[in-house]
């Protein structure tokens, strides 16, 4: 074998692309040729150096949002009608199902909730919602679709916002059952993360739980306004979750994008 041919063969060998016969032949040659063995070692060192110093990159969150927005526009243009479901929905659902796998201990959460504090109930409900098919009863990024959906299902009409202008698009809503009563669960997205917002009419008495807690990698925030008791749960970073809670607490209608 000439060296250029050998070189390519050796690269293919190291890439796992040689047939078994060719690989055996090459290995036999390497045993008796110190030059080629040295050459192989140099190539291995090069590979290691590339692996260590030339990183595969990650698309920024800004780019992800940009691409999704562009796709939404392009998809909408082609169909000449509005896309009803938020485009983030499918990937979020995928991430959610992966999150369940990653958590793995959701059973524990459910067990503890059975006899436990409201914090545990809220966490269990969040984790349960991440199981495939459990996240939303109504899927829409439009608060004017989600809010009326609760009519006749609850004895209150929960405030629903679309914070997609602030990077927290509305994903949908569902009915849930917490603290001995039916409650509204609103789902918001943040990149690949999901945020559950549980709320029900506030009642007089002691607070329902600590203002902040972390359980099994999930952050929970709790507060009570004059009208509603709020719980917010997510695997999102705590500072971003606080940002979201602040948006929600303000009920900042200016932050909401106009209904499409």
């Amino acid at each position: 074998m000439t060296h250029p041919v050998l070189e390519a063969q050796l690269d293919a060998y190291l890439d796992g692309e040689l047939t078994a016969d060719d690989a055996r032949e090459l290995e036999a040659h390497l045993v008796q040729c110190p030059d080629c063995a040295g050459f192989r070692d140099e190539r291995i060192a090069l590979r290691a150096a590339i692996a260590a110093h030339v990183p595969a990159l990650q698309a920024s969150d800004a780019l992800r949002q940009r691409v999704r927005a562009a796709l939404r526009v392009a998809g909408g243009t082609r169909s000449r009608r509005r896309i009803a479901a938020p485009v983030v929905w499918r990937s979020l659902a995928l991430a959610a199902s992966l999150a369940v796998v990653a958590v793995g201990s959701w059973r524990l959460a459910l067990q503890r909730a059975a006899g436990g504090a409201l914090t545990d109930q809220v966490l269990a409900s969040h984790v349960r919602s991440l199981m495939p098919g459990h996240l939303t009863d109504v899927v829409s990024s439009d608060q004017h679709t989600v809010k009326p959906w609760f009519n006749g299902k609850l004895d209150f009409s929960p405030p629903v916002y679309d914070f997609s202008g602030r990077g927290f698009p509305l994903v949908g809503g569902r009915l849930d059952y917490l603290n001995g009563r039916p409650v509204a669960a609103l789902v918001y997205g943040r990149r690949q993360h999901l945020i559950n917002v549980f709320l029900w009419p506030a009642v007089q008495g002691p607070a329902g739980g600590p203002p902040a807690a972390t359980r099994q990698g999930y952050h929970l925030l709790h507060w009570t306004t004059r009208e509603y008791a709020y719980w917010v749960v997510s695997d999102l970073g705590i500072s971003e979750l606080h940002d979201f809670a602040a948006l929600l607490a303000r009920g900042d209608s200016a932050a909401a994008t106009p209904a499409r």
């Binding site: 250029p4 690269d11 293919a12 040295g38 140099e42 150096a49 590339i50 692996a51 796709l71 998809g75």
Partner: protein, 176 residues
């Protein structure tokens, strides 16, 4: 396009965005251009998605990366000349330093740090196969699909690209 078709597109193609961005970045060698190329490529991919009949996974990745590659290629012609790298000539680059047999040296830390510089200096035909193989982990067949050349050409380009990287690193070591 039905909305569930857009959802299907996103479910299959969005997971490959890191790979798309990595390839675009090393082809354009510029963050802004890379992001523009990725967005443009996704829009093109959506447009031609009807023609994609593969399943999820590797096939969809190759399909998307081929579009990213072509988009980057068009981009280069439209927006700037590829000044850093030498122009590619299959024959010329095939014949260079065929029989110099390198002594075995472990690459030193300084040389390692300059690897990215060496990769940026490769002709793009070499750069893309290195990125697709070393960073994206594509098989020769997948690279062949993305680049549009036979598997044998992928094999020889990869080998020559690696040789050039080692030469670049070695000469840099000697200059120090």
């Amino acid at each position: 396009m039905e909305s569930n078709e857009l959802e299907r597109f996103e479910a299959i193609m969005l997971p490959h965005m890191d790979a798309a961005y990595t390839l675009a970045h090393y082809l354009t060698r510029n963050d802004h251009d890379a992001e523009d190329v990725v967005q443009e490529a996704y829009l093109r991919a959506l447009k031609y998605f009807d023609g994609f009949r593969g399943a999820a996974g590797g096939e969809s990745r190759s399909w998307l990366l081929a579009i990213v590659r072509n988009t980057a290629h068009t981009w280069r012609h439209q927006h700037r000349a590829d000044t850093l790298a030498t122009e590619f000539d299959e024959e010329l680059h095939s014949e260079t330093v065929a029989h110099v047999h390198p002594e075995t040296t472990l690459l030193r830390e300084a040389a390692r740090a300059s690897l990215r510089h060496a990769i940026d200096g490769l002709p793009r035909e070499f750069r893309e196969v290195i990125v697709l193989r070393e960073l994206e982990g594509l098989s020769y067949k997948e690279i062949s699909d993305v680049v549009g050349v036979p598997v044998g050409t992928v094999m020889s380009r990869l080998s020559r690209a690696r040789r050039r990287l080692q030469e670049a690193l070695r000469s840099e070591q000697q200059e120090r």
